[in-house]
């Protein structure tokens, strides 16, 4: 596995900041009624998307979830194109026709946020099958929540990936709640990770708030997949800062002191402290990254608001390829 270089650490810190700022900004503008529909924010889980995607290139694929903005940013999608998409503008990554829940960028290997829980599993199997079929060493990473772990696709897809030794890595973002339902209620197994044993693949539960722990576990699993040794399952324990969707009153949160303490941990601050201590970047570098990120997200909002809405004809196009 590649060691975290100073350049990679900086890039990761940039992306984590971008995700946090992007989502905090959306939280504010959604409350103002500026964007249509509904959004599911990724703030609080940055270490997972960025720690995993730090090992990927544009030719690797990822599948995503309802909560897809973080995966997009971690995979290198353009902030302006993303924001314009969420505003429903013609300049959006999907020309305003997908929105927050379907945001995608195939050029970046990002196979779409997904409005259907658990439907990313088989798409990742297909992408992994493609990589194996063409003999590339690209991988497919399937991000899924603790809720999706109880969908039938979880079983079918992991089993298929295991029997065919597909280059797929299953990344469970256990953010403590499936919508409003806690995992200890909805899952018969205490952890998602231990289910890996049933498929005879490696499974491990890792602290998802700790960037380095995320990075190292993902690196091992992704290396293994690239070498043709088959899939792995990693459960990252994390916590979402906001509700399932914006407007969720979150009355189900804070059931124990332990949960409150976990919620209060900030993955970005923890990584900043680690990187400064290890001299991966300086205080000055960090401040520069933080300021630039705030500015970039503000620019993305300006870009989106100044962008035209789709032409009426766009309603009818892009159903079929010619």
């Amino acid at each position: 596995m590649k060691k975290l270089t100073a350049a990679k650490a900086k890039e990761a810190y940039e992306k984590m900041n971008d995700i946090r700022n992007f989502e905090n900004t959306l939280h504010d503008i959604f409350a103002k009624g500026e964007i249509p529909g509904f959004v599911h924010l990724y703030a609080g889980e940055e270490a997972v998307a960025v720690g995993v995607c730090s090992h990927l290139t544009d030719s690797d694929y990822i599948t995503s979830t309802h909560r897809g903005h973080g995966h997009c940013i971690a995979k290198g999608c353009d902030l302006k194109g993303m924001m314009a998409e969420i505003y429903g503008r013609e300049t959006g990554l999907c020309k305003g026709k997908g929105g927050s829940m379907h945001i995608a960028d195939l050029d970046k290997g990002m196979l779409g946020a997904n409005g259907i829980v658990g439907s990313g599993f088989p798409l990742a199997i297909g992408a992994g099958l493609r990589n194996q079929y063409l003999g590339t060493d690209d991988v497919a990473v399937c991000f899924f929540g603790d809720g999706a772990a109880n969908e039938g696709n979880f079983h079918e897809s992991i089993n298929m990936a295991a029997i065919w030794k597909l280059p797929v890595v299953f990344i469970n973002e256990n953010n403590t709640f499936a919508e409003s339902t806690p995992q200890h209620y909805s899952s018969a197994s205490p952890t998602i990770a231990e289910r890996a044993a049933a498929y005879n693949i490696p499974g491990e539960k890792v602290d998802g708030k700790d960037f380095m722990a995320v990075y190292e576990a993902a690196g091992k699993a992704i290396d293994r997949a690239r070498k043709g040794e088959g899939p792995s399952l990693i459960e990252y324990h994390t916590y979402r800062e906001y509700g399932h969707f914006e407007g969720d009153e979150q009355t189900y949160k804070y059931d124990s002191d332990e949960e409150i303490a976990f919620h209060d941990r900030d993955d970005i601050k923890e990584f900043r402290a680690y990187a400064l201590k290890k001299k991966l970047f300086t205080e000055k570098d960090a401040e520069k990254i933080e300021d630039k990120s705030v500015q970039d997200v503000a620019d993305a909002v300006e870009f989106a608001k100044a962008s035209p809405i789709p032409q009426p004809e766009a309603l009818f196009t892009d159903v079929f390829a010619d």
């Binding site: 694929y61 599948t63 959006g92 990554l93 999907c94 020309k95 305003g96 026709k97 997908g98 379907h102 995608a104 195939l106 050029d107 196979l111 779409g112 997904n114 409005g115 259907i116 439907s119 599993f121 088989p122 798409l123 990742a124 199997i125 297909g126 992408a127 099958l129 493609r130 079929y133 063409l134 497919a140 039938g152 696709n153 079918e156 897809s157 089993n159 298929m160 029997i163 196009t317 892009d318 159903v319 079929f320 390829a321 010619d322």
Partner: protein
């Protein structure tokens, strides 16, 4: 030209598509059969070659990399086919019975059919789903559905229902060349039907109906195995001096509006025969469209002859009564047939 069975025409099309394009591969349950069984692999033999034997021989020829036996996991392997298509391969998954769409629909309904649109036109979905349809094989309520109308109701999916071996080969090769999702519905009761099929590679365009027989008095529009019922009706009415035009839609989505409307403009009378249940089906869609676009040309009501609004029964006599027959078509269309007779 040699006569071969419908199922062999399908096999030939798959073989030629795979020969032509390395990215074409098959996946499904038991389509090779016996994968990883040592004594079969030693002899490079397949076992089933599909539950009806349609893919027989393709496994030994192309290997298990391109003829992939899946676990019984319809939900995920259909979704995997979508994932493989959107990332650049050209999968041809087999859904053993269209009835199984219940367990696997998400991959087509919310994922594949919408990706190009949701992603702003950037995705291509070169995916052909082969599946079987149709009552008449004593397969009862869970293995006999004619569900093409369900697929056809979804934007982003094309649906083909061939009626004969020649069309089956040419339409399947067209479907596999498409950069779109095509659901290719094979009536299992037609698998043994023989017909002339050229050995070379040829395609038949999707969305184009075939006029099986020209006529000036009455149009019958139909699909799949109901084409032979329509032809029987035409033969019988000919003896009574009624000149029937029979149109085989071949593609249910998009269906060939132009050919149907032109025919109705000529004849002024229309019967639609559809093996699906009577509501929200292809026949209803055709009748509504013709009423909208050719109302002034109609000399009588449009008759829809369909299966009853019931599941497919098992007992042979009940199953026979379930399927539209020439007798039923003539009986249920008496109003326009009598009218035609009296005007002669």
């Amino acid at each position: 030209m040699t006569k071969i069975a419908f199922m062999n025409a399908i096999n030939q099309a798959l073989d030629q598509a795979m020969e032509k394009d390395d990215k074409v591969f098959l996946m499904g349950e038991d389509i090779l059969g016996g994968t990883d069984i040592k004594h079969l692999e030693e002899k490079n033999e397949d076992s089933w070659g599909g539950c009806f034997g349609v893919t027989k021989g393709l496994g030994p020829k192309y290997g298990k990399k391109r003829v992939i036996d899946t676990p019984i996991s319809e939900q995920s392997y259909m979704g995997a086919a979508v994932g493989a298509a959107v990332t650049g391969l050209r999968p041809v998954p087999e859904l053993m019975f269209s009835d199984f769409i219940g367990v696997s629909f998400d991959s087509l309904l919310t994922q594949g059919s919408k990706m190009r649109y949701m992603f702003g036109g950037k995705a291509k979905l070169p995916l052909t789903v082969r599946t079987t349809i149709g009552a008449g094989a004593s397969a009862a309520a869970q293995h006999s559905g004619a569900y093409y109308g369900i697929f056809a109701s979804i934007p982003g999916i094309k649906v083909v229902v061939p009626s004969n071996p020649y069309d089956a080969k040419g339409l399947l090769l067209s479907a596999i060349e498409e950069d779109n999702i095509v659901v290719f519905c094979e009536d299992k009761t037609l698998y043994g039907v023989k017909g002339e099929v050229p050995e070379e590679y040829y395609t038949i365009p999707l969305g184009k109906a075939a006029v099986k027989r020209e006529g000036k008095d009455l149009s019958i529009v139909t699909i799949g195995k109901m084409v032979s019922v329509a032809m029987e009706v035409a033969d019988r009415l000919e003896k009574e001096g009624i000149d029937v035009e029979v149109i085989d839609l071949r593609t249910v989505a998009p269906w060939d509006e132009e050919t149907v409307i032109e025919s109705v403009k000529k004849t002024g009378r229309l019967i639609v025969i559809d093996e699906a249940q009577p509501h929200n089906n292809t026949a209803t869609d055709i009748a509504a469209t013709v009423t909208d676009k050719a109302f002034d040309y109609l000399d009588g009501p449009i008759k829809r002859v369909t299966a009853p609004n019931t599941p497919v029964p098992f007992a042979t006599n009940l199953e026979q009564a379930y399927l539209p027959t020439a007798d039923r078509v003539i009986e249920e269309s008496a109003e326009i047939i009598d009218d035609l007779k009296s005007s002669k």
